[in-house]
């Protein structure tokens, strides 16, 4: 349950895995992401629920991602995500453009063990037009009432960062309940945390409500400031200076390579 290191925790994320990760505000496992890049994971099918920022851009730039399924990637106030944009324009990334509630609904279908979930909206959009894996069906309770059916999406692995876990693998996720959805929908869940609690989170009636049960968690690794340079809600803010540096460097392939050397790859002894 407790992994000896971040590297050990992510060891089971295989090349080609369908990997689901959360939006920036919900706890992004950036230390684990850097470990994946160092390990040179390849051909990931990355599902960013429902959007991503630095994490997707880094993984794409480092050549780890074959397919990206999400509703948006950008660096937020810092503008476009440069490696994502370059990969799309260069034709090196298979893109499955979605819309946020469709991704949630697809994960909810997997969570419920149903083959699909209906969703309003979408009809007449090019989002739908470019998703042959989505279907328009007739609402069985309507008359001439088309509605989109979205297939269940059950990722191989969910990966996120949270504040606190206990030694049974219970993870405090607080208000970020999409982390629960991810863990229910995914076959396996890997979590990094700021710190470990000696108690059992499920036995505290206040914390239990915001806890993902260890039953759903394959491994937990300690990673202090593991979301850096992204924020961890209620714990630390984004490192905006670092992110601005990233945006500047990643504008070119060379700059991005320098960023990887500087901040991702292991430093060689001088």
């Amino acid at each position: 349950m407790l992994a000896g290191s971040i590297e050990e925790a992510v060891a089971s994320i295989a090349d080609g895995a369908v990997l689901v990760v959360p939006r920036e505000v919900s706890g992004v496992a950036m230390a684990a992401t850097r470990a994946l890049i160092r390990r040179r994971v390849r051909r990931l099918h990355l599902v960013a629920l429902p959007t991503s920022t630095l994490q997707a851009d880094l993984l794409i730039g480092a050549g780890c991602v074959a397919t990206l399924e999400t509703s948006a990637v950008s660096l937020g106030e810092l503008g476009p995500a440069p490696r994502f944009t370059a990969a799309i324009l260069g034709g090196t990334l298979r893109m499955k453009d979605a819309t946020c509630p469709a991704l949630y609904a697809q994960l909810q279908a997997a969570e419920k063990g149903v083959p699909f979930m209906p969703l309003r909206g979408l009809i007449g959009s090019d989002v739908l037009a470019h998703r042959p894996d989505w279907r328009v069906i007739e609402n069985p309770f309507g008359a001439d009432d088309p509605i989109v059916a979205l297939p269940a999406l059950a990722p191989d692995v969910a990966l996120f960062h949270a504040a606190l876990a206990d030694r049974d693998g219970n993870v405090f996720i607080g208000r970020d309940r999409e982390l629960v959805l991810m863990a229910h929908a995914a076959a396996r869940t890997i979590v990094t945390v700021e710190r470990l609690s000696d108690g059992n989170l499920l036995e505290d009636p206040a914390l239990a409500a915001g806890t993902l049960a260890g039953f759903y968690v394959e491994s937990v690794a300690l990673a202090p400031r593991g979301a850096w340079p992204l924020p961890l809600a209620d714990h630390y803010p984004a490192d905006t200076a670092h992110l601005a540096d990233y945006a500047r460097l990643a504008a070119t392939a060379e700059g991005f390579a320098r960023y990887l050397d500087e901040h991702v790859h292991e430093r060689r002894a001088a």
Partner: protein, 259 residues
């Protein structure tokens, strides 16, 4: 207070215009990176003594959402969001918005971040206000390259919502669903109808005489500066500092779990 009208900043005029569009709503939700709509919604709330409820999605303090990212969309599906804001890398004259790419989808020449929730919220939120500061033939086009979400739908498509207006740095358009066209409602002070025509890539309706967008009242200006601006600072610190001169407070956790 003096009767002399205060000098009105552009952002204040736009926010006031949007606040009027919000009207009698119960709940206004605002996505990330929308400080002017946020200013408008908070101003509407300040004027309405706490109504509408305002959900700023970038904030922990200014939203009640605590059931995961799907709650915003579920809430809209329940009919509990009256007003939302969308934008577009491109917007066309039929109200279609493009947040994805320009050119062939498989070999685009320009890529935007993606559709976010637009392909759903544009259909189900009764009043969607389009907000795009840059009013140019690059952004307001005859026909979008990619329809992230269409302005209107066939009659058999469930669509309680859709666009009601488009606010730019030059003017306010109303959207007429039945005609599937924009109508020029007013031109902001210092701008002209001819200029709007010149910089708009699509045809639109307009009355013979187009009014000037009215300036906010002194009371509204006071509310924005004194009540709303400090509230904005949590979510849009750069905006609050630039427009309202609010010094950024240091980041502070609300109280970390188990810290």
């Amino acid at each position: 207070m003096s009767g002399a009208p205060p000098e009105v900043r552009d952002e204040e005029l736009l926010a006031d215009t949007i606040a009027r569009l919000i009207g009698e709503a119960r709940h206004v939700a605002i996505g990330n990176a929308s400080p002017i709509p946020a200013t408008a919604a908070l101003t509407a709330r300040a004027r309405g003594n706490g109504r509408p409820t305002v959900s700023l999605l970038g904030s922990r303090r200014h939203t009640f959402f605590n059931d995961g990212g799907r709650e915003l969309f579920d809430c809209a599906g329940q009919g509990r969001i009256d007003v939302f804001f969308l934008s577009g890398g491109e917007i066309d004259g039929e109200g279609n918005i493009n947040l994805v790419s320009i050119g062939d989808y498989d070999k685009p020449t320009v890529r935007f971040p993606g559709s976010f929730g637009s392909a759903y919220l544009y259909y189900v939120v009764p009043k969607v206000i389009l907000f795009r500061l840059e009013h140019s033939r690059r952004t307001l086009v005859p026909r979008v390259s990619f329809v992230s979400a269409p302005g209107t739908s066939a009659p058999n498509v469930h669509r309680p919502g859709g666009p009601v207006a488009l606010v730019t740095n030059r003017c306010l358009f109303a959207f007429e669903r039945a005609r599937r066209r924009f109508r020029l409602e007013s031109v902001h002070p210092g701008h002209t109808v001819a200029e709007v025509i010149e910089h708009t890539g699509f045809d639109f309706d307009r009355p013979d005489s187009v009014p000037v967008t009215p300036a906010p009242s002194a009371e509204t200006i006071r509310l924005m500066r004194e009540t709303v601006a400090p509230q904005l600072a949590e979510v849009y610190p750069q905006f609050a500092e630039r427009v309202f001169g609010i010094r950024r407070a240091g980041w502070s956790p609300q109280g970390a779990i188990g810290a």
